[in-house]
């Protein structure tokens, strides 16, 4: 059987489509099938990617969808200062433009991330140099809490020790 499109090559791709109970058949060669997009996955193209769901995920957060958004039209014009991506762009494509977009659009992100991941905070690994700083800062917080507690208990000797430790930690962090 010859390809019904170019009529020059063997038809190797045979497609039966059923749309509204109406059956159509087509017989194409591999090249024409590729050109007309009749490859595998041609039978049903679900319009259901994350990008397509994104608008819905964002809109639901603000209650009544379109009204809430017209009020926010000023914010929709907000741009990431680093890469120039607008919030409207982000809603359309579902992708951030650069790392700084996460700051620029921070206020919209929490609800979105909660919907996608069920969480808004990272608990995994951090780059080593940053990880060390996070740890040091958390230790510093703990020391300050203990210092307050020691002063409250009038345990001045302990407080003096803690104060020295805090100073050392602060110096380390800077």
């Amino acid at each position: 059987m010859w390809c019904e499109r170019c009529k020059k090559r063997q038809a190797t791709v045979h497609v039966t489509k059923i749309v509204n109970n109406h059956k159509t058949e087509s017989h194409l060669c591999e090249i024409c099938a590729g050109e007309t997009g009749q490859e595998l996955g041609f039978l049903f193209e679900p319009n259901f990617s994350f990008q397509h769901l994104l608008a819905g995920l964002l809109e639901n957060e603000f209650g009544v969808k379109s009204e809430a958004f017209t009020e926010r039209s000023a914010q929709e014009l907000e741009k990431c200062p680093t890469c120039g991506l607008t919030f409207t762009d982000f809603r359309k494509i579902g992708l951030m433009g650069c790392a700084d977009c996460y700051q620029a659009f921070a206020e919209y992100l929490n609800p979105l991330l909660r919907r996608i991941h069920g969480s808004i905070s990272h608990t995994g690994k951090a780059p080593h140099n940053i990880g060390g700083r996070i740890r040091a800062r958390k230790e510093l917080e703990t020391l300050r809490r203990r210092l307050k507690d020691a002063i409250k208990r009038e345990a001045y000797e302990e407080a003096a020790q803690l104060r020295d430790q805090i100073k050392a930690k602060e110096a380390e962090l800077n």
Binding site: L40, G41, L85, L95, M96, C98, A99, S119, I120
Partner: protein
């Protein structure tokens, strides 16, 4: 170059034994998404920034001693055919090929590590091993991540974690997946039931060939949905423990098939498949995959005296179009492909390394 040497070069380097639980698990993969500060993400970046990414990674590889055996390849310096070979070896994604200009890939010698440059994210670090070795894949990707972060300024936020182009990857930036072979569960009609449970615990399932749960070759990929709020070890651990349970189910189904009257039917089916593969003169890729699936199970259960499971797994790669045409040394029409595919399968299946 002899055909044997050619085959060795075209098989994925990572596909070698030992492969723990390799009778059911084909491969284990971990992919980490990383981006560089101060540069737009690839789809939003201009040529200069994209080149900057390749330059920075190239410089980082040169300055760290560990990367002696790593090579950076630019996609625009390869033929489309060679690029497709990388896709078929699971070393890069099809998405990376959409626009080869300013894209790259870094590979180590045994192809257990690959780093895609300027795919959806600036870097996608992949570790891949045969069988159920997801922890090993994670450790190898993590090691590369650690070595690179000493030289590169990765975009990271204390609250959000690693910042990625798509918010669905933010946090750990980690996607872990295993490819499992479940022919017996399919035969007893239980595969959908077993796999349907996985989405409810945050895991994705898809057929390795084609979409949905009806996979040609009975190969399914299980991966994590969520990347934020769980640690890397938790994500990897969850997939490993779930995969072990899926393995148990598949083994139980295989035993049930062997313990009943169905044993003879099973023996018949896998040996017929072996017979077809060793005697065909023309065979489509679809039919080959279906028969290879039967033979792979037959080999695992020692039902086919001559079949070697590792050789069967290799065939899943050797019959793919770009690799096959590379082996033959020229472009083939679809009809020619069916002819050479049959010849390749006959020749390779006759090998037994046991």
């Amino acid at each position: 170059m002899s055909l044997d040497a050619q085959i060795k070069r075209l098989l994925p380097g990572w596909l070698k034994e030992p492969a723990p639980d390799g009778d059911i698990v084909f491969s284990s993969r971990v992919r980490l998404a990383r981006n560089l500060n101060h540069l737009s993400f690839p789809y939003h970046a201009g040529e200069i920034q994209l080149e900057e990414v390749i330059d920075q990674v190239g410089a980082a590889l040169k300055s760290a001693g560990h990367f002696k055996n790593y090579t950076l390849h630019r996609l625009d310096e390869m033929t489309q055919h060679d690029r497709m070979v990388l896709v078929e070896k699971y070393l890069v994604s099809l998405d990376l090929l959409k626009n080869p200009a300013h894209r790259g890939v870094v590979l180590n010698q045994d192809e257990t590590v690959s780093i895609m440059l300027n795919e959806e994210d600036h870097l996608r670090i992949q570790g891949i091993y045969p069988g159920l070795q997801l922890n090993k894949a994670w450790e190898s990707a993590e090691q590369i991540d650690r070595l690179l972060e000493a030289k590169l300024d990765f975009a990271f936020d204390e609250e959000r974690g690693y910042l990625t182009t798509c918010p669905t990857n933010v946090g750990t930036g980690l996607r872990a997946s295993v490819l499992v072979h479940l022919p017996a569960l399919k035969m007893v009609g239980q595969v959908k039931k077993v796999l349907a449970v996985l989405p409810s615990i945050g895991l994705n399932v898809r057929g390795a060939y084609g979409e949905g749960t009806d996979s040609a070759g009975d190969l399914y990929q299980i991966s994590n949905q969520v990347t934020l709020g769980l640690s890397e070890e938790e994500i990897v651990g969850k997939i490993v423990s779930v995969t072990k349970q899926v393995i148990d189910q598949e083994r139980a189904a295989r035993e049930a098939l062997l313990a009943n009257d169905s044993r003879l039917q099973l023996e018949d089916r896998v040996n017929r498949a072996y017979g077809l593969l060793t005697h065909s003169r023309l065979i489509s890729s679809e039919e080959t995959i279906k028969l290879l699936s039967d033979v792979l199970m037959g080999a695992a259960l020692n039902l086919i005296p001559k079949a070697d499971g590792q050789v069967v797994k290799e065939l899943f790669f050797l019959i793919r179009p770009a690799i096959l045409q590379k082996l033959i040394g020229r472009e083939l029409t679809p009809g020619e492909r069916d002819h050479y595919r049959a010849a390749m399968v006959r020749e390779h299946l006759g090998m037994n390394r046991k």
